[in-house]
């Protein structure tokens, strides 16, 4: 079976670097705060920063020392990433759609579209998806709109 070099080691390195930058930004920002306001975040931020530097250094040493073979084939990795990207884009689209067609309508569209773009087939599974959409729409409507009287963000549809 064909295997791929594990990219997790790279994430192991990249992620603490991103966190390092993030915590550094917070620490720099905190310098402009009054002494009592910045005391606690600086204490925590300082400790976290030291730990992150330690983590990054140890990752550099470990990454250069070894590479792991992944259990997944390149095809499996590609499928996994595609599904992850699809759902991420779908959530982003949902967020945008909320302000255009309204929160409630956007939720119905998300429920209807997501199963198909993440692996279900229109020919075989349309009935299952339809049943799920009807049930969930009813649950959301009865619970949130009618009972809890949540005022959804309005759009041109609902």
């Amino acid at each position: 079976m064909k295997t791929a070099k594990n990219k997790l080691l790279h994430l192991d390195f990249i992620f603490p670097v991103i966190l390092l930058i993030f915590v550094s930004v917070l620490l720099v920002e905190s310098l402009s705060y009054p002494a009592k306001t910045r005391q606690f975040p600086q204490l925590i931020g300082g400790i976290t920063l030291v730990l992150l530097v330690w983590e990054v250094v140890s990752r550099i040493i470990k990454t250069s020392a070894k590479t792991k073979e992944a259990e997944e084939t390149p095809e499996e990795i590609s499928t996994r990433r595609k599904k992850f990207a699809t759902l991420s884009i779908a959530m982003g689209g949902y967020l945008g759609l909320i302000f255009v067609i309204g929160h409630f309508a956007a939720s119905v569209v998300f429920l209807l579209v997501t199963p198909f773009i993440t692996g279900m087939t229109l020919k075989k599974d349309y009935l299952k998806v339809l049943i799920m959409v009807v049930i969930m729409t009813l649950v959301v409507y009865l619970l949130f709109v009618r009972f809890l009287q949540v005022r959804f963000i309005p759009g041109f549809l609902f």
């Binding site: 992620f15 931020g45 983590e55 199963p115 599974d125």
Partner: protein, 497 residues
């Protein structure tokens, strides 16, 4: 006294109180199972319903629905790794892995049984020991609260056994996130970077929904397998019901944590839930199996979060100081019904108070019955195709986040924290540590600052006061003991060789 108890019992079992109790538990379970709808919100929804009812009936409805909501939160925690309420967050850690093994109904049985035992003992503790417990809780001041928060954070060391550094980094991040918004001491706005939404800080529930539910949806969509349970359910509810009895020490310890943390105003259900879980992990014979579906990891948080209900009633009803947001609402309801808070509740209004106690005991029983009858049906959720389940999780979570305050920013925040949670999981950082930091951040900071104000900046205040000194000593021992144990085990091994 006996006649009061008998009269209260008759009132509690009388029609329609018994129906109110069952209905309120059922409603609470349904509400609690919805991400974002907390026990507090459930209680708030029911307060207007109770206005026209007799006081005892109103109290039964409110307290029973709260108990139901706490258990309801555990259902989704187990089935889809999404805690319905903050108090069920730790239940995810071993409950969901059990569901992945096809043992969702067993895990639900454990949760029901542990919640029942914890709930009953918690209520009895309130009924029997309310005055001494409330006096004890009044001995806790800022240094003690800070020590308690530190105790909670010391748990990080245990949680992240094999990735201590990563655990501490995640906890540090959680603590930093908790400092976003108004400083509790000076009122100065921190780390909002010009975003008005962040001025009030990062809302805990919405962040937790993101870390648990949204990140779970992202993980689920890319995982292999058609559904969570891997095709079949192999567990049984009855097995789950009996499991807590195998861990009597864990059960007792967790219940004591629940009652104790409940009696301390402001500490919160999530803290008790986590501390009970981590302590069970620390003293377990098989700590290495925690996080992989160890039943003991479901027993501990579930016993604690329901025992907390009784504990939280102690300061609420004896001093009028609510133990948490839900009991604050209960306090309001008591006042609406014209009850005087304090010792009078156990003398002048004794029948009403003890009717509520009986009502709470029946509520625990109803919760157990609902769980037993419903566990196999609930467990079927783990057999739903992932492609169908993922949009359900996302929609319920994001609408749940929005419904709390009606803020679109909360939807964005839940998604952002979803990606943060996903990345943490992928990079091997324990997300529980991030949550622990978020939960305890404010308690730690405000009490740290207050203590230093009291002591003119001297750190000795944390060690010289008897209770905080004892807690600090426990923290030191618990941090050092694993290393000592490991060293001793190594020596023993070397000697045997």
């Amino acid at each position: 006294m006996n006649s009061v108890l008998l009269e209260a019992f008759i009132s509690a079992v009388s029609w329609p109180n018994i129906i109110y109790s069952f209905g309120a538990v059922f409603f609470g379970v349904l509400m609690g199972a919805m991400p974002g709808i907390s026990g507090t919100l459930t209680l708030a929804l029911l307060i207007p319903v109770t206005f026209g009812l007799p006081t005892a009936s109103a109290l039964i409805i409110l307290t029973a629905s709260y108990c139901g909501a706490i258990f309801g939160g555990s259902i989704t925690a187990i089935l889809i790794n999404t805690p319905g309420t903050g108090g069920s967050a730790a239940t995810c850690l071993d409950g969901y892995p059990m569901a992945q093994k096809g043992q969702a109904n067993t895990a639900l049985g454990i949760a029901a049984s542990s919640s029942f035992i914890g709930g009953v003992i918690g209520v009895l503790a309130f009924a029997l020991f309310a005055p001494p417990l409330s006096r004890l809780s009044m001995l806790f001041h800022s240094p003690e609260y800070f020590a308690l928060a530190l105790f909670g954070l010391s748990i990080v060391a245990v949680t992240a056994k094999n990735a201590m550094r990563k655990g501490l980094i995640a906890a540090g991040l959680g603590l930093l996130f908790s400092t976003v918004g108004y400083s509790p001491l000076t009122g100065f706005i921190r780390f909002n970077f010009g975003i008005t939404y962040l001025e009030d800080g990062i809302p805990l529930i919405q962040a937790m929904i993101g870390i648990f539910a949204i990140s779970q949806a992202l993980v689920l969509v890319e995982e292999k397998g058609a559904n969570i349970a891997g095709g079949k359910i192999v567990g049984t509810v009855l097995k789950g019901i009996l499991i807590p009895f195998k861990y009597p020490l864990t059960l007792i310890r967790s219940i004591l944590f629940g009652i104790g943390f409940g009696a301390l105003p402001g500490v919160g259900t999530a803290t008790a839930n986590f501390v009970a879980y981590m302590t069970a992990n620390r003293y377990s014979k098989h700590p290495e199996t925690f996080g992989q579906g160890n039943p003991e990891g479901v027993v501990a948080p579930e016993a604690a979060n329901n025992a907390l209900v009784g504990g939280a009633l102690v300061p609420t009803l004896t001093f009028g100081i609510p133990g948490n947001a839900a009991t604050a609402l209960l306090l309001g309801a008591l006042m609406i019904h014209g009850l005087r808070i304090g010792p009078a509740l156990f003398t002048t209004h004794a029948i009403i108070t003890y009717t509520m106690v009986w009502g709470l005991l029946f509520a625990q029983l109803f919760m157990l019955i609902i769980a037993i009858l419903g566990a196999n049906i609930f467990a079927k959720v783990t057999l739903i195709a992932k492609e169908l389940l993922v949009p359900i999780i996302v929609i319920l979570s994001l609408i749940g986040s929005y419904a709390i305050r009606g803020s679109a920013g909360d939807i964005i925040l839940a998604i952002v924290f979803g990606f943060i949670g996903y990345l943490l999981k992928k990079a091997g950082y324990p997300t529980i540590c991030l949550i622990l930091g978020l939960v305890l951040g404010q308690i730690a900071e405000i009490n740290f600052q207050r203590s230093l104000l009291i002591s003119d900046g001297s750190m000795a205040v944390f060690f010289t006061r008897p209770i905080s000194g004892v807690i600090m000593a426990i923290i030191a021992i618990s941090l050092v003991s694993p290393a000592i144990k490991a060293k001793m085990a190594e020596r023993k091994k070397n000697r045997n060789n």
